[in-house]
Symmetry: C2
Subunit: 275 residues, 2 copies
């Protein structure tokens, strides 16, 4: 099985894929989120796996925007705990390290650790890229902040694990396939939809009421401005239930009268959260 | 009047302050969002002005989290159109430029322009910091992607304006004061609240229904996991109306029975959107 993700080897997305699908899959890295959607549509990969929500940073809105436009179907949600490691050369010691390279967000999350050890933070495009640079430059005083997987891939040592301040840093990924490639017998426990309420007062509440009246429990509700129409909103809802359930079909049917459109984004097994 | 923002001189936040309050205010830059809240609480500045939503990147969730914890009150919403300029040394020409420094998001937004002109993108912490570095290094082949304001502040030329691909890039800022410093006679046209629905099926819809039943029109609805309690959500709602309106008071009062808490974040004049 070939699975597309955004990033280079050792990205947290790649680690999430191995956690969920095991090490026997082929993870294929692409430069951009768009390219992962393209690869899925053109059959270059069997499925795509992209981040959609993070407990610290919120929703990855760019991926929600893409999901709305593309003909794909979510078949899994994958929760992955992000924990940052300080990586440097084999045998190196913490006391030698003066500079750490990483993505600005990761540097920010490890700010206290860096301050305590008087390590200068230097921004890079991504965490795995930082690990690669540190390896290539081969300087004793340099380190990267990246995944444990990067240590393995780039031949670096883990100098210190879990150096982030906020331990509740989990990313939710969605794995998605081309619409005609949804596997048979897929366990559908949760469903994700997008919709736009009609333009009258109370229409959003009417839409949501169709769900609650039919006994459907929402687990996420997010509003997102339409990129070409800023400050007009599309709503993204996750709820418990399968698109094959009678009450779900009924609710979505009823919503049709108060929404200008409804798009089913996927129906998939409930992901396992590890905190 | 002293107004706190996050960033260094020339940040887009500073430009937004001048657009809204004019050039006669004193804009004071702080390293972090937290420090801006602190400065407001301690009276070091009269008000804070921070980004809360961007048409491309979505909500600045960290600031929503802070807003929930702090005793401040929103007194204005400010819309500011983000447009990136390529800045370099006085008299320099586009054809000389080989390298551009900026924040990874800005580099991403100008990717097409950079590709077309064969300019290498190099990540920096922030756009204004990139302008500062370019000025200091004083190399003919180097440029920064930053605000027009940065050209003025750091003594650089605007080589090219509006180099971003997506022209719908607007940030919404909230200006907020200490709770006991809300100005008299403030025109309250919109209100922002945060609430948590009780833990039973349909409770969120019940909360929202209290608004629509009382004729209140929502303009934004956002769910946000509670940082220490991931995957449990706080909802943020903006609506048309003043906290002094009778129907708003009634609605919030009624919501009290289906919400575990409601916090009024502010009530303020409607901001002017320029697209």
């Amino acid at each position: 099985m070939r699975i597309g993700y955004q990033g280079i080897e050792g990205a947290y997305s790649e680690a999430a894929i191995y956690q969920h699908y095991g090490k026997n899959v082929k993870a294929v890295g692409y430069d951009t989120f768009e390219e992962v959607f393209e690869a899925v549509k053109k059959g270059k990969v069997d499925l795509g796996c992209l981040p959609f929500e993070n407990t610290i940073a919120g929703s990855v809105v760019m991926n929600y925007d893409l999901l709305l436009k593309q003909d794909v179907f979510i078949i899994a949600e994958v929760f992955f705990k992000i924990s940052h490691s300080l990586l440097s050369h084999k045998g190196n010691k913490l006391k030698n390290i003066k500079v750490a390279y990483s993505h600005p967000h990761s540097l920010e999350q490890c700010r206290k650790f860096l301050k305590k050890h008087k390590i200068k933070a230097v921004p890079e495009y991504d965490t795995a890229g930082a690990a690669k640079i540190v390896k290539e430059r081969n300087k004793k005083e340099e380190a990267a902040i990246a995944s444990e997987l990067c240590a393995e891939i780039y031949g670096l040592d883990i100098i210190k694990k879990g150096i982030e301040s906020n331990k509740y840093n989990t990313t939710k990924f969605f794995a998605f396939v081309k619409k005609d490639k949804v596997p048979n017998g897929l366990k559908k426990e949760k469903t994700s939809i997008a919709f736009k309420a009609k333009h009258y007062s109370g229409s959003l509440v009417n839409c949501l009421q169709r769900l609650s009246k039919n006994g459907i429990n929402m687990t996420k509700l997010e509003s997102r401005p339409i990129p070409e129409n800023p400050w007009e909103y599309v709503f993204y809802v996750d709820f418990i239930g399968s698109i094959d359930d009678e009450n779900v079909k009924l609710a979505l049917n009823e919503m049709g009268t108060t929404a200008t459109f409804i798009k089913i984004l996927g129906s998939y097994p409930k992901g396992r959260k590890e905190q």
